[in-house]
Amino acid sequence: MAEIKESFFSAEGLEKRLAGKKFWKTMMTEYWIPKDINFLWAMGVVLATTFAILIISGIFLLMYYKPDTALAFDSVNYTIMQDVAYGWLFRHMHGVAASVVFLIIYIHMFTGIYYGSYKKGREMIWLSGMLLFVTFSAEGFSGYMLPWGQMSYWAAAVITNLFAGGSLEAWGLVEWIRGGFAVNDATLTRFFMLHVFLLPLVIIKLIVVHFYTLRIPHVNNQSSEDIDYDAEAEKYLAGNKKESKVIPFWPVFLSKDFAVLGIFLIFYFYLVFFNYNFAMDPVNFDPANPMKTPAHIYPEWYFLWSYETLRGPFFDMFGLKAGDIGLMIFGFAQAAFLIVPFIDRDPDILPAHKRPRFFIWFWIMIIDLLVLTVYGKLPPTGANAWVGFYATAVFLLLFASMPFVTKADAKARGAL
């Protein structure tokens, strides 16, 4: 080994063993971020904070929650909510954070789409991010089952039932997933395992990958300018902070993150204390009853848009049953955004306001997803069914048209 003569108990000795100063420079004071950014760039740190809130509040819930169909509901709604000191606060924080994290994920994701932050070397950041979205979705779904209320049970029953669709039924896939014929105690405990252990581990590993894939291509900026990081870093270190186009992660970038975080926490805790029903649906305060279907079953708001694509096709087409078409579109919808870097055929990285046709495409996508979300909550009867049908069709068309739209912009600009 490389023998270190300095004592373990000295500053130099510790520095030689751990290279703390070098680590601090690489990760913080000389990790360069573009200066031309807006508050949307803070969403990553807001997400990390929300995830930390979920883990910490989750740890406290874990002390008292009982993963047993006979005990779960009361362990949450009596013991945690009414007996444990500040148990209600941890539960409210956990439920509201689980919902708000998806709002921030969507803002973060669409910021990336708007500024082209998935292109030309940043594909891995995008892919690891989309995998995080999928894993967070599974985490949210498994977590929602745990209080064992009416919505917990019936959402689990309806979604696991999807795996009985068509030819999948013969494989006994639904019974295998559930660990029984119907959603039962074995289903609850295995989703508890997923929610508390396996999926958080996967998420943490994906976050590490996400951060790693970010370093080499560097963070994007508002004008999507290609910056010479070495040159700009030199300017900054030479003392020319105002002229440099970059800022160090610590303290400059993080100081803006903290300021945005301050505002975010006011918004988040306002919801925790005053307005939490959107995240803790009242229907879930009825204990699970396998013999009584609630009048309205719907997933949490962040799943509504893809849930609506499942219900969108409500009549048979092209020789396929409506249910099967819906299932295929629903499957596609989960992974759809993964392919965005590869169907964008514009070779330049530019913000959407510099890509006129893509700009329109982007805002149609936002509005379409909003329509799908709202109609995903409403009963699919009458006119609602038709709105869902057309909104689903628009969703598919948006993906199909992206290569052409992006190519057209590039051609008009003279880049292709």
């Binding site: 019936w154 014929f181 074995a186 079953i297 049953k321 409506a322 009963p379 009867t381």
Partner: protein
Amino acid sequence: MSDKTNRRDFLGMSFAAVAAVGGAASLVGMKQAWDPLPSVLAAGFTTIDLAKIDLVPGKPQTFTWRGKPIFVLEKTADMEKFDGDLVIGDKRYTVSIGLCTHLGCIPAWKKDKWKCACHGGEFNSNGQQVFGPPPKPLNIPPFSVKGTVLTLGEEGEQSKAMMTARA
């Protein structure tokens, strides 16, 4: 020289193959750990004695089999005679799994048919879908009949024939 290379490759590849076999075997074992427990599978039989359950014609009762609701309806004189009925003596019964074939909600009996609150699907007293999104009639659980006793969970002649008649 080439001898040594081949032997090293061969040994390396064989080692990788052995490791892969071990890994695959572990995965099979892990898959099986997710299977429904034997006790759950064994509890899959339920008996119903039609003579002893005080069925009122036109008012179906709900039983549980494998966690699913089972609708048992004794038909009234006005309800149509149907090929798919379970006939025992002079009584005609409709036996169905009480899960809407659209997305699995439990329909409620409203006077003369089953209505599903989730998306408005309707099933008549034969269990056939007559309105709304359900694509198929109510499913029939596998069952066998001895006298007036139904055993749900084992397939008998009648349950197979009934499903065909309903379609």
